[in-house]
Amino acid sequence: MSKKSDIETIKDKILKNKFSFEELVSRDFKTKYKGTVLGMGWSMLQPLLLLIIMRLVFTQFFGRTMSHYTTYLFCGNIIFSYFNESTTQGMQALRANAHIFTKVNVPKYLFLLSKNVQTLINFGLTLIIFFIMCFIDNITFTWKFFLLIIPIVFLLIFNLGVGMILSALYVFFRDMSYLWRVLLQLIMYMSAIFYDVSNYANPKIFYLNPVYVFIQYFRRIVIYGEIPGIIHHGLMIFYSVTAILIGCFMYKKFNHKFLYYV
């Protein structure tokens, strides 16, 4: 085979998968909001309602000593919700599409990617609400807000990696869905979404939780107007890259084995 035709087959492959990918994304959107009156409006309404509830419940306990408590809450909330949604739905990606990949030869990561496009767009919508709330909460907008793109990109990579790992495990063990629900609770309480970590003897220990690293990045930029240091960046990159590498490894290793388990 000549070089030129090699390049052409690669080009064909990308084009072919691009169409599949677009169709999968459109399917996921159509089936997700089917039958709801508000449709995508829920993506914006849900975090707002959640925020109001948390604000009402926790202000008396934690909000008195903290400035911009609403924004503090919201930072934790939107990041954790995105992580939660992306991984919980990502976990289903392989099993839910088993009827397709056992019949058609199609790259399996497409299913997870398409789910993640949806959750990313959802996250984008909640960000709009977030910035509006920041404005109401008298947050000063600085150029540093543009740096938020960094944690968002790495959170996307991290979510993809965790989604890959979970969806592969879920093919082998159905218990994963229950186990993950419990783990998510643990991660949530360890993410300091509604409380302040400075009361703890060793607040640094929270950085062992990847989700907290992302939340804290947001808070430092939005509330305190400061850019996180090298170590903070290093941790974030480390968590994301590790997750995606393990995920890719599992997909590669089990690519032709999933078939037997579904």
Binding site: L24, R27, K34, F101, K103, V104, N105, F172, L179
Partner: protein, 261 residues
Amino acid sequence: MSVLDVKDVSIRYKTGDFKDIGLKDFVIKKITGKYKVREFWADRHVTFKLEKGDMLGIIGTNGAGKSTLLKAISGIMIPTEGSIHREGNIAALLELASGFDPELNIKENTFLRGALLGYTRQFMNDTYKDIIDFADLWEFEDRPFRQLSSGMKSRLAFSIASMVKPEILILDEVLSVGDGAFKVKSENKMREIIAGGATTLFVSHSIEQVQSLCNKILWLHKGEQVAFGSNVAQICETYQRFLNKEISIHDVNPNICLKPQ
């Protein structure tokens, strides 16, 4: 150069306790030593070659390894031993009516299926009308898929797959779908595809159909290759006698088998 070259392919299939068990069952069975995975050869030493324009009929009783072989050829599974060499793109239709999304309507499902089969958006835009024409489903276009009958689903699946001009087309018990009228229509379409130069593999339980359409036959029995060759009438006749229990599989004269050496 052959379009499809299957060389001494063997596929090991796994089944057993690992399917649908929970973590608890898995651990307990592992500890008590009751964890069993049964492995068997779904296909053993299958060898054949197809040239451009060939139409191969694959026959054999249930559990012969036909579908597994097709899955390997289409790239969904990889052979445990041996090699498969393909020239050109493949459109595979395995277990037709499944694989559609029940919540989407016909148009959405058609595009999704087309995309997964490797067609381009341009191609789907151009041929969408022909596909629905052929499947005769215009009046149901906006219905969610779960409201369609299984015959309609299969008709649509066949129409989508047959519109393309793939180098290799794989059909798993496709021609047995639809009502009488559609059967005639789909058989004609098949002849058109063969005339167009595509290499086609298809599984059928209808010996008549195989005999009237195919120029080569592959007979599998419990994973073993009983016969392969272009002497269609002869192999079909022997197969029919085997089905009628006039002869046992061991009596099959190896001479009907024209295995490429």
